[in-house]
Amino acid sequence: MAHAIEPLVLDDIEAYLDAHQHKDLLSFLTCGSVDDGKSTLIGRLLYESHLVFDDHLAALEADSKRLGTQGDNLDFALLVDGLAAEREQGITIDVAYRFFSTKRRKFVVADTPGHEQYTRNMVTGASNASLAVILVDARKGVLTQTRRHTYLVSLLGIKQIVLAINKMDLVDYSQDVFKRIERDYRAFAEEVGEAEIACIPLSALVGDNIVHPSPNLSWYAGPTLLSYLETVQVESAAATKSLRMPVQWVNRPHLDFRGIAGTISRGSVAPGDVVRVLPSGRTTTVSRVYTHDGDLARAVAGQAVTLVLADDVDVSRGDLVCANDEPAEVADQFEAHIVWMHEQEMLPGRPYLMKIGTSTVGLTIDHPKYKVNVNTLETLAAPILALNEIGVCTVATSRPIPFDPYVDNRDTGGFLIIDRLTNNTVGIGLLHFALRRSHNIHWQAVDVTAKARSLLNGHEPAVVWFTGLSGAGKSTVASRVEQRLHSRGVRTYLLDGDNVRHGLNRDLGFSAADRVENIRRVAEVARLMVDAGLVVIVAFISPFAAERQFARERVEDGQFVEVFIDTPLNVAEARDSKGLYAKARRGELTNFTGIDSPYEPPENPDIRIDGVNIGPDEAADMIVHQLRAKGIVP
């Protein structure tokens, strides 16, 4: 078998190729639960459009016997369930893309699972689809999950829905059953959106009404599934609206050429058009629409081109080229739907990244105004969003960005939410409208707390308190720790004798009382800095255990890390880098720790560094490693 051989393939291959070349492309999404027979339907479409090769078919026959659920019949679901793990579980766990073509059209199918926990996959599959095929089991009718699928595809901007009422063979091909399901569904779908709906009765397993009209469904006068998919007119609004082209790349191969490369997301562009570049707002004229195959008289949505502009205006990646008379809006605060896609929940106030079009900016998300129960469409109060939850939130970007409402244009209204540390895509958002300055965001987290500051910093605040004798190596190690943290993007401040005793504590000497006061003040400053969200590195001899304990109690549990640079007196004295030990021995310095003033070594420091055998770089690495292990810094 293989392809049904169109006579043209044999008779006139060039005519066949010419016909094939001019086919257009329809991307659609299929959704349904494990039991609706979705994989069977897709397997059947591939099989019936003759895209299953002999060796695949042989493998399918073998697999059907081993794993199949259809007795001796072919289990078409096995054609499409890919990964080994899910084949064993018998469920599809990710979005899979399939391709087939007919005489009229080429198709891309995004096959997505209907399981509750996999909202993420359906949203992903829907993002590039212009039509959705939603399966229902004729025996069960419109279920909770049918509503969920409809809501999600509408949310993602799909305006054409096919309700495939499957397993008609199991309800005796009853027209009444079909009509009841159609009525139920249309009533519900009206509430959700404005999609155009076609209801088609079929049996994927038997093959009724997939490609050929079935005598079993003689009461049904509409098109078969395939003929509907072949002829449906997909929205062409993208071509008629005003121009949007996100700038991907400024192409400057030599001095005589400067082109703005990008894919036209909406509308069209021709030489002579006046365009406006956002967010700067500068206007210019397009002088050429360059492609490798020659300049174009006009380029339309979907084409990847390189624009040459009449003026040398400043344009860079992330900018948006718009029609001058109808440019996108520019704003930095929005209302948006957020779909959360990661196990680690969405934290209001945490700094994320937004990738919208070709632009990446900082993003913070406010507490959800509400979340949506995708099964009932009820709205609920929610402090956070967890995996697969959908909510409406106020979001703010680190700088103004050009955008269109998602319903107007997916590319300039939809965005990815990226975690700053792992770089994973943790969620997505759909922009609805910009918040006007006048009704500025009312941040619920309006009280800026230590937690809020630390979220903004992207790490926990802490005090890293170095103690040890003079000459032990505290300042050397402390400054290397600070360098390492700084290079990791951690906000730090180093407090040591030099910058504190010359200013804040200028009035203090070295008596025991002054030493206590010295440390008290340093501990209070450290506490304020922790409140400010910093990692404060303190490098003081701090000889007395009680003052160190006092400093520890200024901050919360887990925020104080005591580092003991354990260098014995004889080694520190032998180093005597500042000549202080010699002075003290000569009696020129009094109350010198270790000579005529005691040092109380910590009994249980959080980190102990052997100051004799471990060099400062190794010591700094160990300390940073510990801070990471404690979850303080990334």
């Binding site: 070349q21 790349w249 360059y290 979907g302 070709t358 994973n424």
Partner: protein, 300 residues
């Protein structure tokens, strides 16, 4: 205005993907395997960055066992495009003399290709690598992302793949991760051939039928491409009119008997054929989910 044809859509999508990857990566590279998919990918890359040259080198992970005609074609492609060609041969394989006859197809492929690719990416510290794989080739590839994140040891973890929406791609990665990018993900075999036909893209002559010396082993025709081919006792190469649907190491690549010596002939034959493309590759027969395993180990 007429709607774009599916090939126009696919070409524009591939250009968009390449520009995104290059704009957001530090050291991109294109894996160039000399086959028809690489030829298409290279052709699209030239369009994407025209009138400039694609701002990345080509990398051929060589096994020393490719067809002679492939090496000739490869060197010519690099000269004609003016792009830098990097060639990596796994030094351990050279030292141990790894070959398909003594070590079997699985070890041979694993060490030369899978391990060799890892070595090459580490050696030149490439963070983004373009590959010509397509989703229609094999079931486990149907779920592959266009931007596929690999861990420090180049492993592919199906559970760690990022959601991919619209045409907005997340190219960010940590210093120890790398990203494979597949600009031809949504192309089918027919699309590739049709595009080669329309755009008049040069391909290795091995795709066209010609009289070639072959021996038949286990029902597969293997071409005797050089004198390293070990003949079984009594085996005598015979001239047959054959061609190749996929290209790899010559002792591991099955030829098919064919009269198709033109592009339209090839496409016609492909449309009439009854076996899928990958069947010419010996490695797929190892086990039912073998491609998935290979991917987890870092092979494309």
């Amino acid at each position: 205005m007429r709607p774009l044809t599916h090939l126009e859509v696919l070409e524009a999508e591939a250009i968009h993907i390449m520009r995104e990857a290059v704009a957001e990566s530090e050291r991109p590279v294109m894996l160039y395997s000399v086959g028809k998919d690489s030829a298409v990918m290279l052709h699209v890359a030239r369009k994407a960055f025209s009138p400039g040259r694609p701002p990345f080198p080509l990398l051929h992970v060589d096994t020393t066992w490719k067809f002679k005609a492939m090496y000739e074609f490869r060197d010519r492609a690099s000269t004609e495009t003016g792009m830098e060609l990097l060639i990596h041969q796994n030094p351990e394989c050279i030292e141990r003399g790894i070959n398909p006859f003594d070590h079997g197809s699985s070890l041979h492929t694993d060490m030369w290709k899978t391990e060799g690719l890892r070595q090459a990416l580490d050696k030149w510290k490439f963070d983004v690598a373009f590959g010509g794989a397509r989703r229609d080739e094999e079931k486990s590839r149907a779920k592959e992302r266009i931007f596929s994140v690999r861990s420090a040891n180049h492993r592919w973890d199906p559970k760690q793949q990022r959601p991919e929406l619209w045409h907005t791609y997340n190219v960010r990665h940590t210093p120890d991760q790398s990203i494979r990018v597949f600009p031809l993900s949504n192309w089918t075999e027919l699309d590739v051939w049709q595009y080669i036909y329309l755009e008049n893209i040069p391909i290795v002559p091995l795709y066209f039928a010609e009289e070639r010396p072959v021996v038949e082993r286990n029902g597969t025709l293997i071409m005797v491409d050089d004198d390293r081919m070990r003949l079984e006792p009594g085996e005598v190469p015979m001239m047959r009119k054959v061609r190749f649907r996929t290209l790899g190491c010559y002792p591991l690549t099955g030829a098919i008997e064919s009269e198709a010596d033109t592009l339209t002939g090839i496409i016609q034959e492909m449309l009439l054929t009854t076996t899928s493309e990958r069947q010419g590759r010996v490695i797929d027969f190892d086990s039912s989910a073998s491609m998935e395993k290979k991917k987890q180990e870092g092979y494309f």
